[in-house]
């Protein structure tokens, strides 16, 4: 509902804009994934996100298709939990991140998936990302969650699944591209403006509430 698909200047060119939210336990690498995706950078030492950060990145799927992500990178700490609905409310897609060296982080990821499936946009596309695969490449004994287990869970819950490394950039681009490919680019009639964060009916004239496709979760 917050996506925007329009035909650009060139005939046949498509441009779509989607809202994406990152969720997961603190210190699993959400911000690092985003920084790698948006700026192709990596910080070995990163301080915790405070509140949430909002970034955008545009990718081309093919010559004719461009997808712009509006990314909400949320803080993983428990105290920010009550703010999460504001970020996923109108999201078209979500990346739920866990740390493959921390068993508990997958449990947290599962509870986020459950919450998204219950509360968020009905058609939301969820990807599960097992981050920090570089740690395991160096020391295989650090792995706490096997690829097979996570993959089985992802299949069962209907999620995209990747093991990623923000540090080495492994699978980061692939993750976001796979999401973009799964998004409903063809719903060309849906020309909702930028994600409208307000609950309830919005009477402002500049935001025509074309609630196409997805269910209204207000």
């Amino acid at each position: 509902m917050s996506s925007r698909v329009s035909t650009g200047a060139r005939p046949g060119a498509r441009f779509a804009q989607f809202k994406l939210v990152l969720l997961g336990e603190s210190a699993v690498g959400k911000s690092s994934l985003v920084l790698r995706f948006v700026k192709d950078q990596f910080d070995d030492y990163r301080e915790s996100t405070i509140g949430a950060a909002f970034l955008t990145q545009t990718i081309s799927l093919d010559d004719a298709t461009t997808v712009k992500f509006e990314i909400w990178d949320t803080a993983g700490q428990e105290r920010y939990k009550s703010l999460a609905p504001m970020y996923y409310r109108n999201a078209n897609c979500a990346v739920v991140v866990y740390d493959i060296t921390q068993a508990s982080s997958l449990d947290k990821a599962k509870s986020w998936v459950k919450e998204l499936q219950r509360q968020a946009n009905e058609n939301i596309i969820i990807a599960l990302a097992g981050n920090k695969s570089d740690l395991v490449a160096e020391h295989p004994d650090k792995r706490a969650i096997t690829t097979a287990d996570a993959e089985a869970y992802a299949r069962e819950a209907g999620l995209l699944f990747f093991e990623t490394s923000a540090k080495t950039a492994e699978n980061v681009r692939e993750l976001f591209t796979a999401i973009a490919r799964k998004l409903p680019l063809e719903q060309a009639g849906n020309r909702g403006m930028r994600a409208n964060p307000r609950q309830g009916v919005d009477l402002r004239p500049e935001a025509p509430g074309t609630q196409g496709g997805g269910a209204c979760n207000c």
Partner: protein, 697 residues
Amino acid sequence: MGHDGEESLATSEGEEELANDRRTSPPRDRDDESTIRGVKEEGAGASPKEESSTISQARSNSPETEQEYRPPLPPRPSNFGLLREGSYSPGSSLQRSKNTSRPHLQSTATTALSRTDIHTQSYQDGSRETFAASAQTTPPSKAIAAFGSIKRIKGFSGSEGGDSGSVRSYAPTLETGGDVESLLGEVLGASQESPAWRLHSTQNEAPDPFDSITYEDDETTVDFYREFDEISAVAADGENEEQLLNQWKSKRKHFLILSSAGKPIYNRHGDDNLISGYIGIIQTIISFYEGAHNQLKGFTAAGARFVVMSQGPLYLVAISKLGENDPQLRVQLEALYMQILSTLTLPNLTHMFSNRPSTDLRRPLQGTEPLLSALADTFTRGSPPTLLSALECLTIRKSHRQVINDTLLQTRCETLLYGLIVASGRLVSVVRPRKHSLHPSDLQLIFNMLFEARGVKAGGGENWIPLCLPGFNKNGYLYMYVSFISAYESIGEEEHERVNESGKPDDIAILLISANKESFYDLRKMRDALVDELEANGSMAIVRSAVRRGRPTATDIVPGTVLRHFLYKSRANVQFTMPSYEPSFTTLLARRRLLSLYHALHASVHAKNAHLKVHHCISRESISLAWVTPLFELYCVAGPQASRNALAQSANKVIQWVRKEEERVFIIGGAVSLNSLDRCTIYKKLTPPAARYSEQI
């Protein structure tokens, strides 16, 4: 200083040795260095009356009442008549009376900043205990003692100051003894400091010590740089524990925060396991005095000053070997406490501990350690805004600032509460509701988060941050939109992060604060409009070039001056201005020494019974001057070879300069949104704290 009335504290031997030739006050009792001295704040030597009055004061500051607490009128010594003897001229009635608000001084539009009301915005000089307790506590003998030294400096004027004025003319009283001495210990290179710190003073013999520090690159300098090194974790077998503990002990400054049940919450250096023994000891000591209903405020042990602050369920402890005094350390602890409130809000904090006194606060605070550490390190490096409890503004022309203010007002959206433009830690412009001002301590927290800690900036995007501004309202959250604009590139190209003289990246931040947690997109739209407009009318270019220019040097301000550096605080505006640290104070150590000197000057003129207007201090490494009037505070420093006349003349020139430039270096009034929300609406709109504690609101 020394409102806390530590008596018989911290008479340091080295200090006496060094001070013998200058000392103007009778020597104090000497204590054994290794014992804990003067443990009680209002104990030893105080009359029972004094003690009880202070304690009741402390109680009235308890969390339940502090919201409504207003400091009573400024302390007037009951034996004031004694002070009137001798040459106590009528003019001296202008001496600062600490706690009066002076509405008549703010005859121009009210400023954007206020410092009243919140107990935690304690004045640098006097913690809030002062307010009530000091009214009757000065025994006549002390008053006279204090007064005796005041007389010595009566005759100061711009061009002449008697020789007596050059003596260490602070007012030593029994009340303030501990504080002032430990401070002067710093200035005079006395034994309050750690041996390593004292080593720095070996340059005292050099003709121009501040200069020599500039070029210095020997071990002692390197040592202070190590102050901020991480202490690694304890090895599994505990083998490196002793080495780590030594490393821990070599730090010159520590901050510890623990719960009253003894659970560690935060410490600056090393992990909790390493120092759990010390946490236990400090908790035992504090609760021993709590048990006796005699709150422990501070003590000295092994050359380190320990200051304890108890805030509801929390104990905050500062341990300093840098020669800061108690009120100054207490201001720093207040700031750390404010940071915790800013994360949790007061109702959440009290609720957690009333439910479960053994709450482990580390979990709810998770992720904010970098903010606490950034604050702590700012204090360890030395921070003029903290010392003066004031803000620094970016110097631009009045008309330019007016354009920026107008642009902010034009573009402001209806959910906006405060809008600020900040450039590398200096305020450029502010828009605020008419009835609300912004509290310096709140701004300090915000600036610390944005410009000292790396977390927010490193993300590289826009940010939406729930935070509580305790000075504004400690019971609920506000939401802050933050976006950075590089001062060097045009918008969108923020890759190159250059670092200015004070180590902060030269970035311009747009801060838009709202009480509505859903207003991100509104504020974002406002930001876009604001930035477009500022770019279009040329204001952004003006701000960028002002940031790039940096602060002027002292000689730019007063050509040919002997001044190395100065701090000028406008009291009515709660703002200060200062020249660049260059060229004399470029190193971390030189700057720390400068700030220590400022701390000492500040302590002297703010000492409770030192009714000083002018304080002149000569040491082997510098001559310096503190000058306090109801309008301003000026602290200035020159090299040791400068004459007193030259210093005084320069001080006058600085005053003239500020008078001329006042509307450029300070923000007078700020932009007030006339159709502002009134107080009630804002409180109604305040969002209750997040998550499970929301029923508290």
